[in-house]
């Protein structure tokens, strides 16, 4: 079943086209990696999926509903959650409260406290529960980003460069968490520059440049494609 369907999205800021004729569909249970150089429009794409940016043209379908003009908060309640490249915790709240916000106002909120405690356990944040989020290290802020997004109980989890700046061992533990989350049935779209991390979990890669989809397919094929070589190595896409 198709969970997310982007149809011919277009978005410009003045003369700068950040998304051009972008279509993509993601099946339930997929784990899709998005690759592309800086400024290619990957994060803007996420913003159009979550609803903070509305496309100039095109449609966003989620879980069988057209959500193109729907408010971001409603989309979260439908099951879309994301993490940010630069972590944005609620700095004046504790780690537990940050996660509790996600658990209370996200998709399912049957027992937010229990849910928050489980998420803290799963993401290894429990020892920092009562620390103010503003005082966390970068690594912990990144973990909190993920934890808070998971607390919203998403069907679709969008990860924006969550592995950037991590050491190898931190990256391994992050990958394990991502695999676990994916195994519980959460569909994941992951923007990442750390290609080996992405390759190790993604079932499918989508390459974006200048706001367009350049190519997509299984990771091996995509990484060896002339388009990707052209973007990353400067080789001619002959």
């Amino acid at each position: 079943m198709t969970l997310l369907d982007l149809q011919d999205l277009q978005k410009s800021y003045g003369a700068l086209a950040v998304t051009q004729n972008f279509s993509m569909s993601v099946e339930q249970g997929d784990l899709v990696g998005i690759l592309g150089p800086n400024g290619a429009g990957k994060t803007t794409l996420f913003n159009q999926i979550t609803g903070t940016v509305k496309p100039d043209h095109g449609e966003v379908w989620f879980d069988g509903e057209m959500v193109t003009q729907m408010d971001a908060s409603k989309r979260c309640q439908m099951g879309i959650a994301r993490s940010f490249q630069v972590p944005h915790p609620f700095v004046g709240m504790t780690v537990y409260e940050n996660i509790l916000v996600g658990a209370t106002f996200g998709r399912s909120s049957f027992d937010p406290r229990k849910q928050a405690l489980e998420i803290m356990d799963k993401t290894g944040m429990d020892d920092k529960a009562n620390q103010l989020a503003g005082s966390l290290t970068l690594l912990d802020r990144k973990r909190l980003e993920m934890a808070r997004a998971l607390a919203a109980d998403p069907k679709l989890l969008l990860l924006d460069e969550i592995a950037g700046g991590l050491t190898d061992s931190e990256c391994v533990s992050l990958l394990n968490t991502i695999r676990e989350v994916h195994e519980t049935g959460v569909t994941i779209i992951w923007i990442e520059h750390v290609v080996h991390a992405l390759m190790s979990v993604a079932k499918r890669l989508v390459v974006v440049d200048f706001g367009r989809k350049v190519t997509e397919g299984d990771p091996e094929t995509v990484m060896n494609s002339p388009e990707v070589k052209s973007i990353y190595m400067g080789e001619d896409a002959a």
């Binding site: 979550t50 979260c76 959650a81 940010f84 609620f90």
Partner: protein, 287 residues
């Protein structure tokens, strides 16, 4: 003994100023909105209580049962229908809109109720007092006002830090865009905050109207007292706001004791001195 009395009465009136200030502080904290019409809403609540009492014959304090939810509903509606439309990165539009609301409200009150001053009569509560020391008596009403202020601030504090509505307020205040992505509809959160602020305004209005005469034009000066209490205490700190109200009340009392004409001046001077020494107030919120 005279001076002890001055200070005791000043502390008690500080409770009323804290009531003026609490709603103002709450709104600024949640949505960075400076509500210029806040004082006029307080006066408006006093008139609403007056009408309620005329119609039902209720005691002024019991009229709160009607006035509080009514004011909260008005706050919710004004936020959804008007203020949410002008809130944004620029703080000027909401400032101008609330300034306009202030003028409209004053004139509506004037045409409806005339410029005559009014007062709510709380009966025996107004004259009774408890003697605590020779020459120092605590009136029932001032005591009740102070207790109400402490209770409301304690209640707001509990709400902010212990309930999911409070977490919604704090998350939205912290980062509105992220809160939106986490499933919080900012417009509704703001509307609830305004409803809560107006509920406090209703209490402030009724206590004001029992204590002294009110007329359609006294809102702006109540706004100033509220502002001063908020700023003395430190922005975003509700207990600080209570201390701010008390400092203002005591300063006014001391001024009045020296010379009756100095009452207001002494309060403003205390405010200016604190602003000069500690520009962020005495207990600014730690962020």
């Amino acid at each position: 003994m005279e001076w002890i009395n001055v200070i005791v009465q000043g502390v008690l009136i500080g409770g009323l100023y804290a009531l003026f200030a609490a709603g103002l502080s709450l709104i600024f904290g949640v949505m960075r909105l400076v509500n210029i019409a806040h004082g006029d809403f307080i006066v408006g609540a006093a008139y609403l209580a007056m009408v309620t009492i005329t119609m039902t014959g209720l005691h002024p304090l019991l009229s709160l049962v009607i006035v509080v939810p009514l004011m909260a509903a008005i706050g919710y509606a004004i936020q959804l229908g008007l203020l949410n439309r002008v809130l944004g990165d620029d703080i000027l539009p909401p400032l101008i809109v609330t300034f306009g609301l202030s003028i409209i409200l004053q004139n509506v009150l004037l045409t409806t109720f005339s410029a005559d001053s009014q007062k709510l009569n709380a009966g025996a509560l107004e004259i009774g007092s408890i003697p605590v020391l020779p020459g120092v008596d605590i009136g029932y009403m001032p005591l009740l006002t102070f207790v109400a202020a402490v209770a409301i601030i304690a209640g707001l504090q509990f709400l902010f830090y212990r309930t999911s509505m409070g977490r919604a307020f704090r998350a939205t205040s912290d980062d509105g865009e992220i809160a939106q992505i986490m499933g919080l509809d900012n417009r509704k959160v703001f509307a609830w905050a305004m409803a809560l602020s107006m509920a406090v305004v209703a209490v402030a209005g009724v206590f004001l109207a029992i204590r002294a005469n009110f007329d359609p034009f006294m809102g702006p000066s109540r706004l100033i007292f509220g502002f001063e209490a908020v700023i003395i205490g430190g922005l975003g700190n509700l207990w600080g706001t209570l201390i701010g109200g008390i400092i203002l009340g005591v300063a006014q009392g001391i001024g009045a004791q020296i010379d009756p004409g100095w009452q207001l001046l002494a309060g403003h001077i205390a405010f200016l001195v604190i602003l000069a020494v500690k520009p962020r107030g005495l207990f600014p919120r730690i962020d």
